[in-house]
């Protein structure tokens, strides 16, 4: 599903944060990437999403090249899902409208929305705005919004780190169930080793700007 080959990246006038990194993720696999702050794990996720342009390398999603020396497909054309730590819900839209944001051209928009509102147990919040709901409910909305588009790969950047332990455990269980049920390919970036081992088929750690399977 995802194939990264010899990827390197650096920020302007800085040392390499990713150096000659390669990674293959199969369909339905959940991969975790561990590492301390600033090691390059978020950069890797942003590069896969197309939000940052790497120095060199090749990225294929579903056998299609999305980046190499001559091609750079924009994020909106990569068919991915992204959930970040601060959720980035659109504050001017209700929960319902946030969820359907990415499927505006889908004729089954209503049915899909109902299904995902139920799946994430937020049907009673559909008319509420992001600032009117709790942090856990916001995270459920963000996950629903990302998964409803049926992405080829779901990118998760520390999605549960802002939640308290109890809520985190509850969401872990439910979310993993949904990932498996929907046969999602997931790339999870986290600094929590328990979280990575709970979710993932394989766990990688950043070492010397490369990924090391542990």
């Amino acid at each position: 599903m995802l194939r990264i080959k010899s990827l390197s990246h650096r920020y302007e006038n800085e040392n390499l944060v990713i150096d000659d990194l390669s990674l293959e993720v199969n369909k339905g696999e959940i991969i975790s990437i561990l590492g301390p702050s600033g090691c390059g794990k978020t950069s890797l996720l942003r590069i896969v999403a197309g939000l940052e342009k790497p120095l060199k390398g090749e990225i294929k999603i579903d056998k299609k090249i999305v980046f190499n020396q001559t091609i750079n497909i924009s994020p909106e054309k990569r068919n991915l899902g992204l959930v970040v730590e601060d959720k980035a819900l659109f504050p001017h839209l209700s929960v319902y409208k946030n969820i359907i944001f990415g499927i505006r051209k889908n004729k089954q928009q209503k049915q899909l929305a109902e299904e995902f509102l139920n799946l994430f147990k937020i049907e009673h919040l559909k008319d509420k705005f992001p600032h009117e709901i709790s942090s856990g409910e916001q995270q459920r909305t963000a996950l629903a919004r990302a998964i409803i588009t049926n992405p080829d790969i779901l990118l998760l950047d520390e999605p549960f780190s802002a939640l308290d332990k109890e809520l985190k455990n509850e969401l872990h269980e439910e979310t993993k169930k949904i990932f498996i049920e929907k046969n999602l390919t997931v790339l999870l970036v986290t600094h929590d080793e328990n979280e990575s081992s709970f979710f993932s088929n394989r766990v990688f750690k950043f070492k010397d700007q490369k990924l090391l399977e542990i």
């Binding site: 750079n72 924009s74 994020p75 909106e76 992204l82 970040v84 980035a88 944001f101 990415g102 919004r145």
Partner: protein, 543 residues
Amino acid sequence: MNYLYLRTFSFWKILPTLTFVVFVSPLVIVLLSLTGDYSDNWTHLYNFVLGDYITNSIFLVLGVGLISLIIGTSSAWIITKYDFFGRRILEWALILPLAIPPYILAYTFTGLFDDYGSANEFIRWMFNLDSSFVFFPNVRNIFGAIIVFAFTLYPYIYLISRAAFLNQSKTLTDTGRILGLGGYRIFINLGLPMIRPAVIAGLMLVIMETLSDFGAVDHFAIQTFTTGIFRTWYGMYDLHTAMQLASLLLLFIIVFLVLERSSRMNAAYNSPVSNANSSSSEKLNGSKSFLCFIGCFIPIFIGFILPILELSRWAFTYNTGFFNESFFIQAKNTFLIALMASIVCTVIAFTINFSVRHTKVIFLKRINPFLSVGYGVPGLILAVGIVQMFTYLDKGIFVGFDFVLTGSLFGLLLAYLIKSYALSNSTIESGFERLSNRLDDSARVLKSSGWNLLLRVHFPLMKTSLLTSILLVMSEVVKELPATLILRPFNFDTLAVSTYIYAAEERMFEAASPAIAIVVIGLIPIIILTRMIKDSKDTPYLK
């Protein structure tokens, strides 16, 4: 960073580039006039008036700069450091003179202080004096002009100094006190030097506004560059020489503009001490409290209350004719052109700022600040440049037609856009800065980009900034005089033009209605500014 897919032509790159070309062209045309021939009129200018233009302009700048510096910084210091009677009201009321354009204060000053003006009449009535007795000195001179400019423009220094004083650590002033500095010496030796860059930025704005003015200096018959440009063009019918004069003034303005920009970049020296315990004010009682009140009240009285009283007297005297037909026509013209200019300006600024954010192309980021340069350029220079540019276009492109652009509403609209873009840009830029980039990332991954992202995500979130921008530009356009005077189409009168014409004909009572309307509209940004000062918090979707 530069995305490969953005290396192609796109609307998001073309719009800012095109706007840059259109905004800068009139100024380039004015400057290029220096390389052309010099007519015989230069001999006249050189022998008789150029010296006056230069000395009067320098004298004005020095006088206005000094007085507004004293008023602006001392009132900001008093308001920030002391708690006294009326402080809460004076804090925002000190900005009110910004609503009065210098030319309106100049008109009311002559109405008040001329030999038979209301102030002298009042003194004669009060002390039962002879009708030939004159108490107040003549204001129709450069000293009168200095007072007029200083008392309408000091809020620029007040605003920026107050913000800088607020950020000053109390620990530093406390240390000064322990080291023996007291009262005004802390202000002179410590407070003021620490905010010097901020003060210079405010001072440069005051100087640019002074050099740009036409209405007030024209009313007081003072020979400056702006009146000189106007007379060379309309008196000698020599546009080329007028452009060359405008170039000289523009070169001065560019120097002040560069100084203002560089000062603003570091508006206050970085303090090594934490600002966590920033200044709390010292409670004053009795005579000290009264003195502080009077000290802050005088600038508001001269710069705002006095002209309002005089305008009200004119309006009351002119009673029946206040809202006549011509007033409504001028008000309608003013409102429509101001609305049009403010909407177009806001749309351009919104789209360009979105382009900068969306494309992340460094070139666009670099040219955006240059689009704001027009704010510091006198309206008269813009008018000269636009007339010349439109003449070239009419002759070069619209051959065979009568004048298509020259004398049309487009010129006026363009002048307003160039002059007001900075207001729109700063409002919208700060609005965008408050929106987290994560929202854009999420939207793009959810297949929303370009227009879709602009209209579905940014537009709803930026409504307050967009509305503020529209109101700010409207109030600026309503006040603008010299460019309007020159570029307005035939028979198209606005409130500012009408005030100018009535005042030029000494029909002051009739000038009351348009002048009051201008002041009322000018109060809009003041109210917005006051609200911003009171409550800097905004919507819940901040970064």
